[in-house]
Amino acid sequence: MLYRESGDFSETYKADSQTFPIKFDRYRYYAVLIVAFLVIPFVINDYWANAVLVPFLIYAIAAIGLNILTGYCGQVSLGTGGFMAVGAYACYKLMTAFPDVSIVVHVLISGGITAAVVTLFGLPSLRIKGFYLAVATLAAQFFLVWLFNRVAWFYNYSASGQINAPDRTVFGYLVTGPNTEAWAKYLICLIFVTFTGIVARNMTRGALGRKWSAIRDMDIAAEIIGVNPLNAKLSAFAISGFFIGISGALFFSVYLGAAEVGEAFGIQKSFLVLFMIIIGGLGSIFGSFAGAAFMVLLPVFLKNVLVGGLGWDTALAAHLEFVIVGALIIVFLIAEPHGLAQLWRVAKEKLRLWPFPH
């Protein structure tokens, strides 16, 4: 009833080509923003921030980054964990070397550094494709983790080999370090997520996004119609790396506070983010959010039900989680290769006609 375009007249080209052309969608988007910015910060507590909301927001950024590379440009990457580590260690080095500069600037610069590193590892994509490239990105994963583990300069020669986020403030409020309030953690992540979401959404709608899609669908054909594969592929790697770097920096500085590279940014992290975009939907910004929410909530849900509710062993619940995640990946690939985002699209399509069948 509410969800349809009738009565919604676009009078300018701008209005016609906006992100959410249907009025209901647009108001829903504003409503989500208002709730996220003006309601949740006042009701949030430590458990919700640390277990659900902050990891969700940070993984959403990583998922958007990987989705640009894998979902839009078709270059499968298994190096996300290593790339997030680049963001984290870049942020750590910047935070300790320039304590007076704002953490926001540091996070953005870390994104830039990560973009450069990812582009470097993306260079072989011009020669190799598909799962050859996927395996090549494993090289990045293992090499980067080894590098941050072995070269003491990266963790400032600390005895434990860990990196610890020092206290940093934004507008006088603590956002990193162990004494940070839940709402501050949440809000700083939310600001970065909003920024990432808007930039990514508009980028993928524009000329650059279309070039990426052309490369994904068939790179030789794309080259023939005038898309430069060098520019398109490397820009996808760079922009994806920028977002993944931001998420890595936030993951370390805001969420974890202290990190050990093999544990926090191992190959499991690469798979986790890949699963988010498969379940959420390849080639969809909404899907990145949906997948991140799903993969963050699933373990929390299982833990509450199995360990809290039924009193199972934690290890057993963890194994069952592996089984469920693996089975879900396969089920989604068989039944709905476009993921949760496609289910959402189908639901919206049905809503436009409802209550009429045609």
């Binding site: 072989p124 080894w146 583990n149 190959i267 890949l274 194994h319």
Partner: protein
Amino acid sequence: MFPDQFLFGVEVLLNGLMAGVLYALVALGFVLIFKASGIFNYAQGVMALFAALTLVGIMDGQVPFSHLINALFGTDVHHFGWHVPAFAAILLAMAVMVGLAWIVQYFIFRHLVGQEPIILFMATIGLAYFMEGFGDMMWGSEIKKLDVGIPQGGSFWIEEATAFLGGSNFYGFFIDQLDIVAAVVAIILVVLLVAFAQYTKQGRAMRAVADDHQAALSVGISLSFIWVLVWSLAGFVALVAGIMWGAKSGVQFSLSLIALKALPVLMLGGFTSIPGAIVGGLIVGVGEKLFEFLIGAPFLGGATENWFAYMLALVFLVFRPQGLFGEKIIERV
């Protein structure tokens, strides 16, 4: 007679060759499935882990899913109380792997026929996750010892026979007996597989499917049978690899990560070539051990074995994308 440093280098080289044989063994499983079905099976390493877990579980008479059963019904069962001899247990584990092959084919890949290779690849990642959790749930996740009667420890006669080569600091080449057994088994396995593919009816059908699915269908070869066969063969190779790695370093999660090393092996050798898998395995095994010995340990702080194989493959692929023995990649619009 020779400078000691050189002899140590040779010893590293020999050990690298032995490790390379084990890599080649895992890589073989990948090549088999890839040739016949175009599926790049990321789960091969986890299959080796699962096979080894099953073998240990059967040998020790563990009750499958005992943790789950105990959690659900409040019972306290762990072991049947018997011990199965190694040979019978290997046969039983093989039967489990064949069953697994059938399940994988009928519940997963039958529904994904005609999908893009990268989708199939991601499905095998899902399968790997599933099997990892499933194996742990079935047999428990603690580190287990696997002992099927393969001799272990240094081989004394090689040490004694080669001790005269060096000076007073050199006591002969140290080579683990297990590695020698593994190498012999791997060579036998390769010969058997090649003979199977060349001289039996099923082997010919397998090669036909690998060449062209539709042409194979039109001459009356059952695709689903061949795929089950191929997955079973890969399961068998995984079992052998699982036994060797498991006997060497215990049956534990890292087994599936060691098996990931087979990926760069394949990229070096080419995904479609059995000789390529073997040569690639040897290059990676020798390369990473020598690199660690000559450059990694003295200059880079060690543990370069974690990434050397991948970097080698990455650099190599930039110059020759199809690998050493791969078929030339021809792309058409």
